[in-house]
């Protein structure tokens, strides 16, 4: 028994967390399409086991040494270029790994009953599982090439999720002669944008490889980076391309334009996974790779990142105020929330980066939930147009109550999860790393603070338009079904987590804090 546990902590555990979904996906391909129930149960079982394994990993994790990479291993992968299968987790990646395995379970539960045309659970379930492998893998990879492969692995499943199950509304788009279905336009836009970023990111990785004694190992590169191995124009350029790769994914203003389209077009589970996990891959990349390996360049770029983040916050909220489409509003709110995450990161302080970490988890939970609810509402009402909605509380009391709760959490109400990320990011920006331009950061902080007010504004206005008031005539007498058991099973855990993290932020900080402090001390000496 002990030997099993030992091998489990020698990389087997997290390897299973990463690859079990992929292996299950392959098996599911061999189940005949007609046996839908078997497919669903097998997928759920696989994701539950994966989640269970990730809990065991969290249990085995040594929180006193959260700054060290643990439970990992290093195996030869591509010998001739010295790239290895090097994996491990530290306090920064652990919460995100758990978030990923957890949200995947919920997405699968939700998909039991709520798939848009052309239903096909076999396809959707296997895509979710492949996606999960990509997400989990990104969070445990400690080799740049391995990271790159997992980072890119999420593209294909998400492309097909949006493209096949996405919104079929026909609209005209600039640059296209004919009108085009939203899903087709959004899916390729998502793909092209992310690939554009990551193609350049790969060049950056190669730059680090050649300057840094031909290794792709992230821990080794961090050692090299913190001892000042990467300097000059070279390092500035490398940081620039890494920035491009990660910022597209986050997405930071002005590279965000794919996001509203992708979110609006994606089916509900697609939106949830996109918002909850995929966006985090970008911000996680900053914390895991860009900052510790290129600390000097991070300092040089920090003010620029802070300004872009602040613009993102203001722009996101203003754009939200102008939306009539419920899902598009939530998509733009993501731009704003991820702006807070990036503002926290750009401060280069332990408070700021901790804020980013809890902000990522909170955004994953809250915005994930918002997309669940809005997706279900769009399914029930057959419209996302807020001008037509109204009186939701009376029509769908359960959904309405949850929407109200989640909107409150999203606007950063103290006591709920969203509060910590925003509040501490502003705190971080008020007192950035010594040596950074304080005017820029304080201005960004003020912009962020205005952003919180605007966020409250658009969310409350959204609630007023959607939830409150009397139902419009077109809905009266219609048979609108409120949240069913599958939906509630997917949503209630998120509600509980929102409250728990809001009250005990230590759930996250207990894991991240030491790791973040060690990162900041090592890289920036502060």
């Amino acid at each position: 028994m002990t030997s099993i546990l030992e091998t489990f902590s020698n990389g087997l555990g997290i390897s299973l967390v990463v690859f079990l979904p992929l292996v299950s996906a392959v098996f599911i391909l061999f189940i005949p399409k007609k046996q839908e129930f078997l497919i669903k149960i097998a997928t759920l079982g696989s994701s539950l086991v994966t989640f269970g394994l990730s809990l065991i990993v969290a249990y085995q994790f040594d929180y006193d040494n959260a700054h060290m990479f643990q439970l990992g291993n290093k195996l030869t992968w591509i010998e001739s270029i010295n790239s290895n299968y090097e994996i491990g987790i530290d306090g920064i990646s652990l919460p995100l790994l758990l978030l990923s395995t957890f949200i995947s379970v919920l997405a699968i539960i939700y998909s039991f009953e709520h798939l848009p045309e052309p239903v096909n659970p076999k396809g959707m379930m296997s895509l979710i599982l492949i996606l999960e492998t990509g997400m989990n893998g990104t969070f445990v990879a400690l080799d740049l090439i391995l990271f790159f492969v997992f980072f890119e692995l999420v593209l294909l499943p998400m492309y097909f999720m949006i493209g096949i199950w996405g919104d079929r509304t026909v609209r005209s788009v600039a640059g296209f002669k004919n009108q085009i279905e939203t899903r087709l336009y959004a899916s390729i836009k998502f793909f092209v944008f992310t690939l554009f970023g990551s193609a350049f990111m790969l060049l950056g990785f190669l730059g680090l490889y050649f300057r840094g004694s031909k290794t792709f190992s992230i821990p080794e590169l961090i050692e090299l980076g913190t001892s000042g191995a990467f300097t000059g124009t070279f390092a500035t350029l490398v940081f620039a391309v890494l920035f491009l790769g990660f910022a597209v994914k986050v997405p930071m203003w002005p590279l965000h334009t794919w996001l509203p389209d992708a979110h609006t077009a994606a089916p509900t589970v697609g939106s949830v996974l996109l918002a909850a996990i995929l966006l985090k891959l970008g911000s996680y990349g900053f914390v895991r790779i860009a900052l510790p390996i290129l600390p000097e360049q991070a300092k040089a770029w920090a003010p620029a990142i802070a300004i872009l983040a602040a613009i993102g916050i203001i722009y996101g909220s203003l754009a939200c105020l102008a939306q009539t489409d419920l899902k598009r509003l939530i998509a733009f709110s993501s731009v704003g929330h991820m702006g807070f995450v990036m503002l926290g990161i750009s401060s280069l302080t332990s408070i700021g980066i901790n804020a980013a970490m809890i902000g990522m988890v909170a955004h994953g939970i809250i915005t994930g939930l918002l997309f669940f609810i809005s997706g279900s509402m769009a399914h029930t009402y057959h419209t996302r147009d807020m001008d037509r909605l109204g009186g939701n509380m009376k029509l769908l009391p359960k959904t309405g109550a949850l929407l109200g709760f989640t909107a409150m959490a999203s606007l950063g109400l103290p006591g709920l999860a969203g509060f910590w990320g925003e509040f501490m990011a502003l705190l971080g920006a008020y007192n950035p790393l010594p040596g950074l331009n304080i005017t820029v950061f304080r201005t960004s902080m003020v912009a962020g603070a205005i952003g919180t007010v605007l966020t409250a504004g658009y969310l409350l206005w959204m609630l007023q338009r959607v939830n409150l008031g009397e139902p419009k005539e077109e809905w009266i007498g219609q048979d609108l079904h409120d949240a069913d058991n599958y939906e509630l099973a997917a949503w209630i855990p998120l509600v509980i987590l929102t409250v728990l993290i809001g009250i005990f932020p230590k759930l996250i900080f207990g894991s991240t804090n030491d790791a973040v402090i060690s990162l900041v001390t090592k890289a920036f000496g502060g």
């Binding site: 010998e79 001739s80 890119e152 087709l184 193609a199 060049l203 050649f210």
Partner: protein, 494 residues
């Protein structure tokens, strides 16, 4: 001195088996009646499989390069790997051809005979180390293709393509010969190593005449590998040829050209790399851009793949170009060979998909392929794997091919490599649009009314699963392919 000719027959047993198969194929074709012609195909298939056996033994028992015919013919790891590739590709082409050739009034026996001749040429190129042998090899590889590309006699497109291919092929042959004659005129030697030592001894390796020779050869081979500006024949010829022949043209013929280019430019002209390197850099960049931008416009799947394979040629060429400038030939050969090997299988798969879908939809317009994946999910998955692999999306093999190219481009950090790297990155994104389009149409577009039944014949399934397995293997465990490239590079430049 008494000339004693002793030939190491074991070393050239692959070639001998292929020759035997060629003779056997054409003889059996005379014997068998129309009904039992499939036996000819079977014979060719088995023959090409058997010719793979010596390759395995040579690889397993490799100790050092075997030199034959006074240095004209060398069996080293580079040639073993590429011969293996050529044989496998030919084998897959045969499988792809069986139903295709049977379904029409083609001359079956001659078809296999010609393909095998072309294979023999390719095998010779991989081992040749003198001007004559390499020229014979190049022409033996491309000569039969002139005939095969015009195989659909009744089709004007096929005639047009074949004539274009033939005329340009003859032009390219004469350009190559002209280049060779200049080299011979200057040095009086035909064996590469002797040419090089003669050039360095006389200090002529940077002289205009050698440079002119390299440019002429480059132009000649440029036609074979269809890089810009020598690419214009490719889309027409590809469109007109029978589909398996097109697949062979875009994989094996192209690879043969690349092998010849790699051998000549790294063995003969390596000292003047700074001159031709710049030209190759320009050609490589232009090839990527023009290939990809043209592919974006295509509605015909075969023309789309034609332009795609032009763009891919730009990627394969890039490491050699930069190696010329930096002098780091090891890295360049490593990247190009690795790319070639992976490209061969994913491109074969892409042609297979196109083959199936054209037959299923009865249309050579990709926009009429809506929803075909629903009728045959297997073909749908094939198309996703092969087309996205060509686009270089992990975890499919193509990503590693692109990666090693980027790696060799950036290895020294000098400006040409860096610029080509950036051009390559931009092109990877452009290419994604049209590769993704095929998947988009067959997975996401609505199918037209009416039931379509897609039956995939067994030989095609075999081709599909072999290519699929190798493409996935290259993506998930690239080490295997990488070590092939590495082995060829190290032994080649020694």
């Amino acid at each position: 001195m008494e000339a004693e000719i002793s030939i190491n027959y074991l070393a050239i047993s692959t070639e001998l088996i292929v020759i035997f198969t060629i003779v056997g194929t054409i003889t059996l074709d005379l014997i068998f009646t129309k009904k039992s012609k499939y036996l000819v195909a079977l014979f060719a298939l088995v023959g090409s499989l058997i010719s793979f056996i010596p390759i395995i033994f040579q690889w397993a028992n490799y100790s050092k390069a075997m030199v034959l015919f006074d240095g004209s013919y060398v069996i080293d790891k580079f040639s073993i790997i590429l011969k293996g590739l050529f044989i496998l590709v030919t084998y897959l082409t045969f499988l792809l051809s069986i139903n295709f050739v049977e379904s029409d009034t083609y001359y079956e026996g001659e078809y296999y005979f010609l393909l095998l001749c072309s294979l023999l040429g390719a095998l010779v190129v991989a081992s040749s180390r003198d001007l004559l042998t390499i020229f014979i090899g190049i022409e033996l590889a491309s000569g039969p293709m002139f005939l095969l590309s015009g195989w659909r006699k009744g089709d004007p497109k096929s005639n047009e393509g074949a004539i274009k291919f033939f005329l340009l092929g003859v032009l390219s042959a004469s350009l190559i010969l002209y280049g060779f004659s200049l080299l011979y005129g200057v040095t009086g030697k035909i064996i590469f190593s002797e040419i090089v030592s003669s050039l360095s001894a006389t200090g002529l390796h940077q002289s205009p005449v050698v440079l002119l020779s390299s440019i002429l050869i480059l132009a000649g081979i440029g036609f074979k590998i269809s890089v810009v500006p020598f690419h214009s024949w490719a889309p027409d010829t590809y469109e007109g040829s029978p589909l398996p022949v097109t697949a062979y043209l875009s994989i094996s013929s192209k690879a043969t050209g690349f092998v010849a280019l790699i051998i000549l430019f790294t063995k003969v002209f390596y000292e003047s790399g700074t001159s031709w390197g710049v030209i190759l850099v320009l050609i490589s960049g232009a090839t990527m851009f023009i290939g990809n931008l043209s592919a974006l416009q295509q509605t015909n799947p075969i023309r789309l793949l034609a332009y795609s394979s032009i763009a891919q040629a730009g990627f394969i060429l890039a490491p050699i170009a930069v190696a010329g400038i930096t002098g780091n030939y090891n890295d360049g050969v490593y990247a190009s060979v690795t790319y070639l090997v992976i490209y061969a299988f994913m491109n074969m798969g892409a042609f297979l998909v196109v083959n199936i879908l054209i037959k299923a939809s009865g249309s050579e317009n990709i926009y009429e392929w809506g929803g075909l994946a629903k009728d045959s999910p297997m073909t749908g998955i094939f198309s996703v794997v092969f087309f996205f692999s060509l686009a270089g999306i992990p975890p499919l093999g193509g990503w590693f091919a692109k990666f090693v190219v980027f790696r060799s481009l950036l290895s020294t950090g000098e400006i040409f490599g860096l610029s080509l790297g950036i051009i390559g990155a931009i092109n990877a994104v452009i290419a994604l649009v049209y590769y993704a389009r095929v998947s988009k149409i067959i997975w996401m577009d609505d199918s037209p009314a009416g039931e379509r039944v897609i039956t995939v014949p067994n030989p095609l399934k075999v081709v599909g699963f072999i290519s699929l397995a190798l493409t996935l293997l290259a993506g998930v465990f690239p080490g295997i392919f990488s070590s092939l490239g590495e082995a060829s590079a190290i032994f080649f430049s020694s």
